[in-house]
């Protein structure tokens, strides 16, 4: 297997006939942490949902190769089982489905895909409780309906809990920091760091530099209007924090 986890080339995509991604390129290798920053509406969430396979978005050109396979050929659940995980910017509430049942079904789907035995409720409980402790979550979350009545911060932690269980090779965190106070942010960041392994990769989407104080990216990309305008190291995030996005957009306009 090549050490390239994700390779996106000249990706274009639209929703309801409106182009959103307009020639998007990105390569992520094993062991790397990438951050995509950019103003609201630039297409960051669209890109993340296309990776996960959301049916509302139509890919009109380009390619996405994930660990050597054409990601666009896979159903959303197959992508998840192959190791793509998206922590949603706005996690859904699912009344009536208990969180622990949902987590177990999800966990077992992955295990089955990997040819492992599924865990029964009892054994799974042990696994999930250890992760809950790690994330400093209140165990009572497990028995509530998925995300129902959770605060913004609780929902985000629940997303990370799912990631901790599924151990993806590519974790995509869409604005995981929004709505988190500084303590919650530290907990989330340290769990993301703890999940880090040389063979997997992380893509952080944010428009605040703050998160990147706790999770150090290897690469920072600035996205606007459906494509990446500039890439650099972790210092680029600090520069964006100090100067705002306009200088990147302006220099692009000049260069164009």
């Amino acid at each position: 297997m090549s050490d390239v986890i994700l390779s996106v080339k000249d990706l274009t995509a639209e929703v309801d006939g409106t182009p959103i991604l307009k020639g998007f390129n990105l390569e992520i290798k094993a062991g790397e942490i990438h951050a995509i920053m950019g103003p609201n509406g630039s297409g960051k969430s669209t890109f993340s949902k296309i990776l996960a396979g959301h049916p509302a978005y139509t890919v009109t050109g380009g390619e996405i190769v994930f660990q050597g396979q054409n990601l666009l050929e896979l159903e959303p659940d197959e992508r998840a089982k192959s190791g793509v995980f998206l922590a949603f910017q706005y996690p859904l509430e699912i009344p009536g489905v208990s969180n622990v049942d949902f987590l177990r079904v999800s966990y077992n789907a992955k295990r089955k895909h990997e040819g492992l035995d599924e865990l029964d409720a009892f054994d799974f409980d042990e696994v999930v409780r250890s992760k809950v402790t790690l994330l400093k979550m209140d165990p009572s979350f497990l028995n509530r309906s998925v995300n129902e009545g959770f605060s913004g911060g609780e929902k985000k932690r629940n997303e990370i809990l799912q990631m901790a269980l599924l151990e993806p090779s590519l974790g995509i965190l869409d604005e995981i920091d929004s709505g988190l106070d500084i303590d919650a942010l530290k907990v989330v960041a340290s769990s993301v760091n703890a999940l880090k392994k040389p063979e997997n990769a992380t893509l952080i989407i944010t428009h605040y530099q703050r998160l990147l104080n706790y999770i150090t990216p290897d690469f920072v990309h600035v996205m606007a209007n459906g494509r990446i305008l500039k890439s650099g190291g972790k210092d680029l995030a600090l520069e964006l924090e100090a100067k705002g996005y306009d200088w990147v957009l302006d220099s692009q306009a000049v260069g164009a």
Partner: protein, 443 residues
């Protein structure tokens, strides 16, 4: 008991004219058997109901109340009288609730089965038994039986004209009964039966009631039950009504409830079976500050029909009413909900909310939902709404993005939609059994 068949020459009613429908109804009426001597006091009530039915016909879809519910399938089925089945304990074991080991009344094809019933553990003064025995102990029974408004409705009247026994639960003043009382109506054969139940919860009393219709064979029988519930002042009744009839059966049932002041009635209905099932659920608030909660779930598939016609009639100040009716409709099935809420001028400072939520799982599935709020009081809070939806793509996607296949995701979401109603049931064993059933139905 004399049993005779008088329904021999009704013939094949392929096309239903008014004449056919009248003849068919008369045929059903003619199947009624003699009143047992203990219930001779009921003769007048019965005769009155008989004359209400005699000159009428099975309703057609031209009648507004039956617009969406076509009874012509019923006209194809001929019923005969036959001897009641002898069934034993093992056959009903799977329906028993451990919480009601000693508070259970069993009726087989409408006939009381004392050997299968058990009511040993109820407090002194509480009566749970059959009408024929109960009338000796509670002559006051006649002050309650068949006295609800709406008794002229054709199937209600057919029941009143035909029933020969029934269940009675009488909870005296200030008695709180802990074990739920389980009324189990078992169908065993292709027959017409008219189960009847009378529940009286006197002032300050409280009771949990489970009323359940089940079957031992998948036949085309017709169950036409009527349950009357009277809540005295400040009484509390928690009622679960479960209809698990055969998928070939017809079920047209009535629940009529009267609530005196400060009483609380909390009803959860779950309708899973029946080729055609219809439930008339009527609640009359007769005193101030009464509280009514109705939560319903109907699941229909194949080409079955499930219909709920409800009425909440407020009449006094400070009343509250909350109703949620859910349906899950797949294949070519059809769900109907008609929910009337009446808030007259006298019912000031009341609060009524009604929600009809319907989940259509296939393009050919159909739902007709009609909230009917009739409000003439001016100082009231009323909210109502109806939603008809497919499963949300975003919800399915969220589950898929966690590795759950689309098909399984849809099942999980359907199950979740249903379970919100089931979870309201306080009797754990029943809740678990229904959870299992719904899990299987949505699998």
């Amino acid at each position: 008991m004399t049993i005779q068949s008088t329904l021999s020459d009704v013939g094949n009613l392929g096309v239903s004219t008014k004449v056919d429908r009248a003849a068919y109804l008369l045929g059903l009426l003619s199947l009624r058997s003699e009143l047992p001597s203990e219930l001779a006091g009921l003769k007048e009530i019965r005769d009155r109901a008989f004359s209400l039915v005699r000159d009428r016909a099975i309703p057609s879809t031209r009648e507004e109340e039956w617009r969406f519910t076509d009874l012509s399938g019923l006209l194809q089925v001929q019923f005969q009288n036959s001897a009641p089945s002898e069934i034993g304990f093992p056959q009903i074991e799977s329906f028993l609730l451990p919480e009601s080991t000693n508070s259970r009344l069993v009726f087989v094809d409408g006939v009381y089965a004392p050997a299968l019933s058990a009511v040993n553990d109820l407090p002194d003064g509480v009566l749970a038994g059959n009408l024929a025995a109960g009338v000796q102990l509670f002559p006051k029974l006649y002050e309650h039986l068949a006295l609800h408004p709406g008794g002229e409705e054709i199937f209600t009247a057919l029941n009143t004209a035909s029933f020969t026994d029934g269940a009675i639960v009488w909870v005296p003043k200030n008695q709180a009964i802990t074990p739920p009382i389980h009324l189990l109506f078992v169908s065993t054969r292709e027959a017409l039966c008219h189960p009847r139940a009378l529940v009286v919860a006197e002032t300050g009393s409280s009771v949990t009631l489970v009323e359940e219709y089940v079957c031992l064979a998948e036949g085309a029988y017709f169950t036409n039950p009527v349950t009357e519930i009277w809540l005295g002042e400040n009484a509390e009744v928690r009622h679960t009504r479960v209809q698990r009839d055969s998928v070939a059966a017809f079920h047209i049932g009535k629940t009529a409830v009267s609530q005196a002041r400060d009483s609380r009635y909390d009803c959860t209905t779950v309708s899973l079976g029946g080729k055609l099932s219809r439930h008339h659920l009527e609640v009359y608030q007769t005193g101030e500050q009464t509280d009514t909660k109705l939560n319903g779930l109907t699941i229909v598939d194949g080409d079955r029909l499930g219909d709920t016609h409800s009425l909440i009639a407020l009449s006094q100040p400070y009343g509250t009413a909350n109703q949620v009716n859910k349906t899950i409709v797949s294949d070519r099935a059809h769900a109907v909900f008609n929910g009337r809420v009446v808030v007259p001028k006298a019912a000031q400072l009341t609060n009524a909310a009604q929600l009809s939520r319907n989940l259509l799982l296939s393009p050919k599935a159909r739902v007709d939902t009609k909230p009917q709020l009739e409000i003439t009081a001016d100082n009231v809070k009323c909210a109502h709404g109806a939603t008809v939806s497919q499963l949300e793509d975003d919800e399915v996607f969220y589950l898929q993005s966690r590795g759950i296949e689309a098909d399984q995701a849809r099942k999980l979401l359907t199950y979740a939609f249903a379970i919100e109603v089931i979870d309201r049931i306080s009797v754990a064993s029943l809740r678990n059994a229904l959870t299992q059933l719904v899990r299987i139905q949505s699998a």
